[in-house]
Amino acid sequence: MSQFCFMASRDPVSSTDSLHLYRRAADLAVAGERVSLFLLQNGVLATQSLNDKALRQAYEKGVSIYADKFSLRERGIFANELDDFIEPLSIDEWLRRVISEDHPKLIWH
């Protein structure tokens, strides 16, 4: 089993392929891989947009969803406003989680 760590930096409204990214993450999880999505930069805007349904679907299929605390704060999104399936992490916390695995695949979007 591999670990796929997607780093979703693009805002999901102006970047239409963000939805494809979430679906791809979900497909990998369904196939048995360990998959996470780290929303950062404008990617955290997905936590409030109409597209957060797609994020929830990815979560329900087994994708861990994280959001960068700094990017959230920078954009006025507070942790208590997040849906419960989104875990806010600092970049240090995120790095600690992914780097503890063997050869994680880090994929920027």
């Binding site: 591999s2 891989e33 695949k105 979007h109």
Partner: protein, 127 residues
Amino acid sequence: MSKILSIVSTAYRATQEEQDDAGLWVNRALVNGGAEIDLLLQGSAVNYAVARQDPTGLVIGSVAIEHPAIPPQDLKALQAGGMQVFADATDIEAYGLDPEKLEPGVQLITKGSIAGLFRKYEQVWQW
């Protein structure tokens, strides 16, 4: 050496003044150095597979861009070096491209199959 899938999604970014697509160029350099890499074209970069393109002839002031990037030729060279080149069939359709007019050897793969492709590689790099 690990097997790598490189994804190029943005097309024609500074290909005139660079006289190359940076993503295609660096992957070719890495393959020349012994890396095992296959390529996936997505987004506007699927247009790189269109066989007949003519980017030549640009002159700025008195300076001519004499060797602009010709992406289908670059793809051909990459394939000759052993690289498999895939293109996102969903994006090909979205851009209204005729599969008959694409560079031979480019393998079309649907968006739904890309997750499966990812699983075959040890690293996935987005350029």
